[in-house]
Symmetry: C2
Subunit: 410 residues, 2 copies
């Protein structure tokens, strides 16, 4: 018999989140816990201290993903999986990623509290390098796990200091023997929304039915570097001036394909980089997103066409390279139904939505049944030290996760 | 009796320039000889080997300026000085700075060839850190020499690696006992134009009558960093989008105050700097120039007003700090006359002009009589590895310098 009235412990979940947030805490109240650093290691050690207390075993795979297992009655059944990531952006918040991991921990703790044994084993997973800010691309761990990236390719990726992923994994002892490609029953991931929709509409739960398509680019703009003093304005080929008009156009491209499109330039570098030299070369990153891959492809061709016009106007040249493509990814109807059911059962107001952000769940969904649970975050702000969420919403999402995991695991 | 028909040795001058250009030579035919590096030291060693052969003594001052002295008949007379700098931009050319130093060397060599003794002593000076690309601000050596910068202030300036000017001066043994503020009869500096005017008009010599005023700024733009995926376009406060519109406006400010105004953004940095984070903070450098200080001040107030409007439109904020101001600086009429006379005597087509670039001569002109001699450079391109000039023009500028120095020193 299912104990239908089991409640997760909201206070314990919140306290664990706050304790984890002390690791890499920033002055502005956020977190800087970059992937595969000593701080990221400390985060895992804290988590493992908690899961050891629950009697769970753990194991890494070859790309540093960490799997923490709570046995089920039936050893033959593939595990019901939940989790997220513990790494953060350079100026990240206390909830992005870590919430999904600690909500999963709270599910395990609650099951232990009530001596519930599930039919299927449960696995709490910490995906390595979800953020991609130290080692690009993001979602590296789940990408390798699901066969989207080659392990050897991931190993040789370098951070800005020239350190390779493989070196850091060796240093931290994160290379384990868990094989890739094992059967997984399904995967649930709880996450803050990282956008303003739930808050604006007064909903507690986002029942996430899929992930947005993403196309990321690297844009190089070439002009001619020259001395900033004696080079008359009309004769210049200023790559930064050209790039700045391109950045404006890229923003309009997002607006014009709204309300669901996004287009963002997050990084820019100028060469040669001197106060009194007209820039000869500019490098810019472009991130475009839309729930419909066809729209995204049309945006790319508009982008290329507009870049050409702007470059010509400034007598510059450009190239636009596809850096990373993630197609729009629908989630699993049965898993989505369990999330919806969990929200309804607890009486939380909910809405179905598409995830604008990339998540490990999106890669998992290419191979396994997946659903996600969103909770509101204050002002929709994420990837920011002031990222915030209420204890009530945090608990609500975890309660829905508990229902979904419990129902699925039997 | 003056030997009026003495000619400098054009081939020797060119060969010395090409030999110096091997120190820090880049693949693209330019030079990277950043100030106070081992390469900069090697450049000085080569020069001193040449001036030692002429029997000249040398001495540094406390900021690493190098003075090489050819005695005159009258020890009491202050020296007639000429020179420039040996440091380069990160992707610099073979002529910027080094030409003025080696043209001065060729003047000394020519005087030695013909056993000419001048009444006043001559000094060939190598100003330290003219470029300002490793340690900002530029023209640091001549600025300290002329009392515009404090020595202690210059000592503590750091490069991007955190190395201080003082550390490098100590390491290289460039701190000498030559006092600042000694009497100087006058200072001549030969330089490539670094702009396209002489070439366009078919002139060989620029008789430079003064330096442009410069006002440099640092612009900070503050928006709100947020996740690039789930943050709808209309709700963003994108600091890079805002800055890109400001960069466009700054360019228009230069164009609108043409033909003599320049406005350039040479460096930009984005924080937090991640492909999938909307930039929350952008830092940009702004370099404005005009021969008339009143126009330059009016440009600054237009700049501030326009920045405010653009920031408001993007719901961002900004601050604009004055980073460096160099007023418009007229040169000395007598010295200018000697340069003009030298060009006329040799039959070189010439025009009077204002220097668009900053030069050590501009700082020297605040305290001593100064003039400059420009020669054309190919396509007006400088601060670039493809910087080029003809051997004929290089020789012509040196011949005019010889006349001016010789006439002045008596």
């Amino acid at each position: 018999m299912e104990q239908t009235n089991i409640q997760i412990n909201a206070e314990r979940l919140w306290d664990s989140l706050m304790e984890m947030a002390t690791i890499g805490a920033t002055d502005k109240g956020g977190v800087c816990r970059l992937t595969m650093t000593d701080l990221d290691q400390q985060g895992r050690e804290l988590l493992l201290r908690w899961t050891d207390e629950l009697g769970c075993a753990h194991q890494c795979d070859a790309v540093g993903n960490l799997f923490i297992r709570r046995p089920g009655r039936n050893k033959e059944r593939p595990p019901v999986m939940t989790g997220s990531h513990l790494d953060s952006q350079p100026t990240g918040g206390r909830f992005d990623g870590v919430y999904g991991v600690l909500a999963g921990l709270e599910v395990l703790r609650t099951l232990n509290d009530h001596n519930v044994e599930t039919e299927a084993p449960l696995e709490l997973v910490v995906w390595n390098n979800e953020e991609g800010s130290r080692f690009s691309p993001p979602m590296m761990g789940s990408g390798v796990y699901t066969g989207i990236f080659e392990l050897d390719w991931a190993y040789q990726i370098e951070d800005e200091a020239g350190t390779k992923v493989k070196q850091e994994l060796d240093r931290l002892g994160w290379i384990g023997s868990r094989p890739f490609g094992q059967a997984v029953d399904c995967y649930f991931e709880a996450h803050i929304e990282q956008g303003p929709v739930l808050e604006n509409e007064g909903k507690t739960i986002g029942v996430v039915s899929g992930g947005q398509g993403q196309r990321w680019f690297e844009l190089n703009v070439y002009g001619q570097e020259a001395h900033a003093g004696p080079t008359p304005m009309p004769l210049r080929k200023d790559a930064l001036l050209c790039a700045s008009e391109m950045i404006q156009m890229i923003n309009r491209l997002g607006l014009d394909n709204g309300p669901d499109a996004c287009a963002t330039c997050g990084l820019i570098k100028v060469l040669p980089g001197s106060r009194n030299v007209i820039p000869g070369h500019v490098w810019v990153t472009v991130d475009t997103r839309h729930p419909d891959d066809d729209v995204l492809i049309r945006m790319e061709s508009l982008l290329r066409e507009s870049l050409g016009k702007i470059a010509d106007k400034h007598r510059c040249t450009f190239d636009l390279q596809n850096f990373w493509i993630s197609p729009a990814t629908p989630f699993d109807q049965d898993c989505i139904a369990l999330v919806r059911e969990g929200a309804e059962k607890s009486g939380y107001p909910y809405r179905e939505m598409i995830s604008g952000a990339g998540h490990d769940a999106v890669y998992m969904a290419r191979k396994y049944p997946v659903a996600m649970i969103f909770v509101p975050c204050e002002g929709g702000i994420s990837h920011n030290e002031i990222e915030n969420a209420t204890s009530e919403d945090i608990a609500a999402g975890c309660q829905v996760l508990f229902h979904a995991v419990r129902s699925r695991a039997g």
